[in-house]
Amino acid sequence: MGDVIVQGVCLGGIYALLALGFSIVFQASLVMNLAYGAQIMVVAYTAWWFSSSVGAPSWAAILIAFVASTILSPVIEWVFIRRLRGRDLLSVLIATLMLGTLIRALGILVWGGQAYSYPFTPSGFYEIGPIKVLPAYLFAFIAALLVFVVLFVFFRYTKVGLGMRIVANNHVVAQSLGIKVRQLIQISWVASGLFAAFAAILIGMTNMVTPEMEHLVLGKAMPVLLVGGLFSIPGTLVGGLLIGVAETLGGHFFEGWEQLIPWLFMLVILLIRPWGLLGKALVRRI
């Protein structure tokens, strides 16, 4: 039982990491980057390809993955998303969704649809007192906590982070205040790419490297964000932990329910508090 809860907490940490990386772009420019999952998938496959087919040492493969991810993410913004500025929510949403499909299909074309595991996945498990934890899960949880603290400080105390929040609120106002909107949005995409690499390596170690990683964002990160509240960084962490624990407990007691639980959790929260646990209610004006 204790094992299950600890595993759930660690899983929740991974989900929170996913959701945080995704939410940077959203907080900076109100763009829901639904292609984020496909980005993660491509980065994970890149790392796998360099470490197993090319035969690079594992540190080099991870480094290459990080570099590739931080380049890929702003390129996506530069080629596609920039052209959609000022469009309604719907077309941006469909565009990023299709972009995700495109990237995923290209990934399948290049690497095939098989699942692989990293050669550098640490084996065995750590024993902390009576509780056993898989090392990859523990790393993931620690990384998620670190990212959480960094982002919390970033959006609350740094000039760039505060600027991003204004940009999200209103492009025109931000520009007239002397904020470089374009540059800030680029920075947010670079940061999001960096976190995508984190998520890709960690999830590649805890699960496998598969094309199904594309659905991580839709299936896990989105429910986490909505449960916690879209603009709330602490809310994301809370949502991630709640969903992670609920999912592992549900899977422990009822076989096969673990895929359903994040969605049910989200539906219930949206019925009771549509703005999320720690979010703020939106005011509608004509």
Binding site: F80, S91, L93, A105, L260, L264
Partner: protein, 350 residues
């Protein structure tokens, strides 16, 4: 809608007419006749392509009522199609209902399921609605997979052949059934836009708060939008069940829901003609992989060429939709309208 030159509306009745001039009537009748005639002369693989396109038109029309007219995003359209298909399969298979009776019942089953998921939609809009409908997609498919005693789970369920006056309906005959259903559905949707309920949908799409202030009951209008939209999905599910003859949860994937969205975007949001154009455009683009893949597999190295099958259709589909969103947001229909305007005005630019 632009009127041809020299034609003016002089009465309210003319103003309301969907088909206005004699030329339009002749063209329309010829088009419908062609649609009925084509299946008789088509080769086998194009016949099944044509039938599938017809089924997708029905489903996409439902999404058009929801999204194009009512402004309500739905990402669970293929799951509702599954509800209709399984309802038809179960009613006809284990309860012995005649197939023709299950057609409306399949629609109603999907409509009610859609209404159930629409209840949270009343309080939320935009992005949150996307998430609720996406949840609906996964929840419905999960339930179908896990209700093994009713639906056969992942193994699937076979559907009896369609019987018409004691004869089994063949491939061509079934294609005629699909074309007939498509024609009826297009007429229905064209007319929904002219009714009171249809105008309420449009008002809700354009500005929810303003519509509510004007005295439109948002709750009822949203529920109605979901019921009509999902009703069409259920009808499409019924057609699908009898076309494929074998149901499996994997057929109603999330990517199928996305495909319907893509069809609407490519055709042009908010136009019924655009739906038909969009479905044919996307289906043609995907069919083109049958001819492109052999060419590409000669050029590409063999490691990559073996993956062409599962990925090429998706790549072409996604590329087409992305290019349309970026370059022509009003879709094929918008482009056609502009070309017609240009032709009508020809020597002058406006």
């Amino acid at each position: 809608m632009e009127l041809p030159f020299g034609v003016y509306n002089t009465s309210f009745k003319q103003d309301l007419a969907v088909v206005r001039t004699k030329t339009q009537w002749v063209m329309l009748i010829l088009l419908v006749a062609l649609a009925f005639f084509l299946p008789a002369v088509m080769p086998r693989d194009w016949l099944s392509w044509y039938t599938t396109a017809g089924i997708f038109i029905v489903a996409a029309l439902g999404l058009h009522v929801l999204l194009g007219l009512g402004g309500q995003f739905s990402m669970c359209h293929s799951a509702l199609m599954a509800v209709g298909a399984y309802a038809a399969g179960m009613l006809a298979g284990s309860h012995g209902f005649p197939a023709w009776l299950t057609l409306p019942l399949a629609g109603i089953a999907a409509g009610i399921m859609g209404m159930a998921f629409a209840i949270p939609a009343v309080r939320i809009t935009g992005f949150y609605l996307v998430m609720v409908t996406m949840a609906a997609q996964f929840v419905i498919i999960w339930v179908i997979e896990n209700l093994r005693s009713w639906t056969g789970g992942n193994i699937g369920m076979s559907v009896n052949k369609l019987i018409f006056f004691g004869d089994e309906v063949g491939k061509v005959g079934f294609c005629w059934v699909v074309v007939a259903v498509v024609v009826v559905c297009v007429i229905l949707v064209k007319n929904i836009q002219r009714t009171n309920a249809g105008r309420r949908l449009l008002a809700m799409r354009d500005n929810e708060v303003a519509a509510e202030v004007m005295g439109i009951n948002l709750f009822r209008t949203k529920i109605l939008a979901f019921f009509i939209g999902c009703f069409f999905a259920g009808i499409a599910g019924w057609l699908w069940a009898y076309q494929v003859g074998y149901l499996n949860p994997a057929q109603f994937s999330f990517s199928l829901s996305m495909k319907f969205l893509g069809m609407l975007v490519v055709g042009g949001l908010g136009s019924t003609t655009g739906v038909v154009l969009g479905v044919f455009a996307i289906q043609l683009a995907e069919k083109s992989t049958d001819y492109v893949n052999p060419l590409l597999s000669d050029i590409l190295p063999s490691e990559i060429a073996k993956n062409l099958g599962p990925s090429m259709a998706l790549i072409i589909f996604a590329l087409v939709v992305i290019l349309f969103i970026i370059l022509e947001p009003r879709g094929i229909y918008g482009r056609v309208q502009r070309i017609r305007l240009w032709l009508a005005m020809h020597p002058f630019s406006f």
